[in-house]
Symmetry: C2
Subunit: 157 residues, 2 copies
Amino acid sequence: MQDIIIRRAVREDCPRLLELVRELAEYEKAPNEVTVTLDHFMESGFGEKPVWWAFVATVPSPGQPDDRLIAGFALYYVRYSTWKGQTMYLEDILVTEHMRGKGIGQQLFDRLREEAREKGFRRITWQVLDWNEPAINFYRRQGALMDPEWLNATIDI
Amino acid sequence: MQDIIIRRAVREDCPRLLELVRELAEYEKAPNEVTVTLDHFMESGFGEKPVWWAFVATVPSPGQPDDRLIAGFALYYVRYSTWKGQTMYLEDILVTEHMRGKGIGQQLFDRLREEAREKGFRRITWQVLDWNEPAINFYRRQGALMDPEWLNATIDI
């Protein structure tokens, strides 16, 4: 697959992005956890005060090579750390199932790294499920350190 | 200890807050991880575009009861989740060592919950080290769910 284009997400991508967020939640065995609405999602990314940014990977549509389909995405926000200052928090990265193994994830990750450098973030952090071996192997290849010592804590209000 | 006052942190609290951040990092066995400068810390909390908010717990100074000392703090930022929308991320909560066991942590946590309700966050999330039993017990009493399934991943740029 040579013809992969990585570009910044735009407002019109939101419905497809939310589909991919749901695909990822299903893969992570938490399909019912996605309760955010499309309106809220769009507003948070492209309203007056954006709180997330994303890149999409597009490939030619099989039947209509002039049309391009979104095959994957990476979405991040800026996280404040009292240890490191502003860091890039990679909220989601996903390549849709039938498009895996073509290097799309690698291109998305390279783009994230470039963005982090440009914006002056000193660190990229994210989380991965301990049973998600394909992802863990991919992140190892990127040089990531993975630390099992922290537990996630949650209270719903 | 009856005389605990919880109030919003102000700019002048920053040097003391950073001391407490360092005390927490030491407790968490990562004293060298705190590389943020006081200027950057202050600017991030009280500059044009604040990215964190905090509450402090003050108690009377032993020798000078009219003076008040900061005995603990809780610092949060707003985190975007593609599942839940805006949530409160509790970056740090700490009561300085010799002031523990007096209910200060509970008052700080109650204040956070109130803040989350007022700001319309549906969820508070944070992380705790798996060997930090006193903290884990405290969070259990708050009704928190703790999930060991996620690994923290990091790349330094």
